[in-house]
């Protein structure tokens, strides 16, 4: 069964450093998403991406965040200057007009 792949599974970074979280969506999907889940809390929408541009973003997705689809397979989330409160699980998802979204296993980001 097709999967969404996320790397790395766990990343530890110093506050103020830039991080790039990587995702390989399902190849024939056209819609891509990033969500995050702070430990023990709900899953929050960050951004949706379609046709090589952001289609919607939440209040969380401020100027420190950016997304890119640099080639035909990767979909990345960049945080320019990480803060302690950016520590969370980050989930990538893709959708191809099927019944539901397909989520990756997540990247656990720890900012110290």
């Amino acid at each position: 069964e097709p999967e969404v792949t996320q790397t790395p599974s766990h990343q530890v970074t110093q506050m103020g450093q830039e991080v790039i979280l990587r995702c390989v969506p399902i190849s024939n999907h056209l819609y891509f998403y990033w969500y995050r889940q702070i430990l023990g809390q709900k899953v929050e929408f960050l951004v949706s991406f379609y046709n090589n541009e952001i289609s919607e973003k939440s209040e969380i997705f401020d100027d420190q965040f950016s997304v890119e689809r640099p080639d035909g397979s990767n979909f990345t989330l960049k945080i320019r200057s990480t803060k302690l409160e950016d520590s969370a699980m980050y989930f990538c998802a893709s959708w191809g007009r099927g019944p539901g979204y397909t989520f990756g296993s997540g990247t656990r980001l720890t900012v110290v």
């Binding site: 998403y33 709900k42 949706s48 539901g100 979204y101 989520f103 997540g106």
Partner: protein
Amino acid sequence: SQQGEEDPQALSIQEGENATMNCSYKTSINNLQWYRQNSGRGLVHLILIRSNEREKHSGRLRVTLDTSKKSSSLLITASRAADTASYFCAARGDDKIIFGKGTRLHILP
């Protein structure tokens, strides 16, 4: 937002019993989806119910949707230890889904 809110927040039942989780949302939706999350893992899509549907079944899962009350329920019948997980409803309005806070389900042996 079309945020979903589940209740109860946590539920413990004996193996073999049925588990019912409820979800409410705020705005109009195209569909409502339920996802499962094992501890520390990703989200797995379980079932989707469209706004013009009232009930849907998939294996041991039964989902209902009441658009007049903006609510949905997920019933897991004949629960098993492997059903222990968090369950989230997710309301889809335009092109994104908004998750509720989830119900932590614990199946007791």
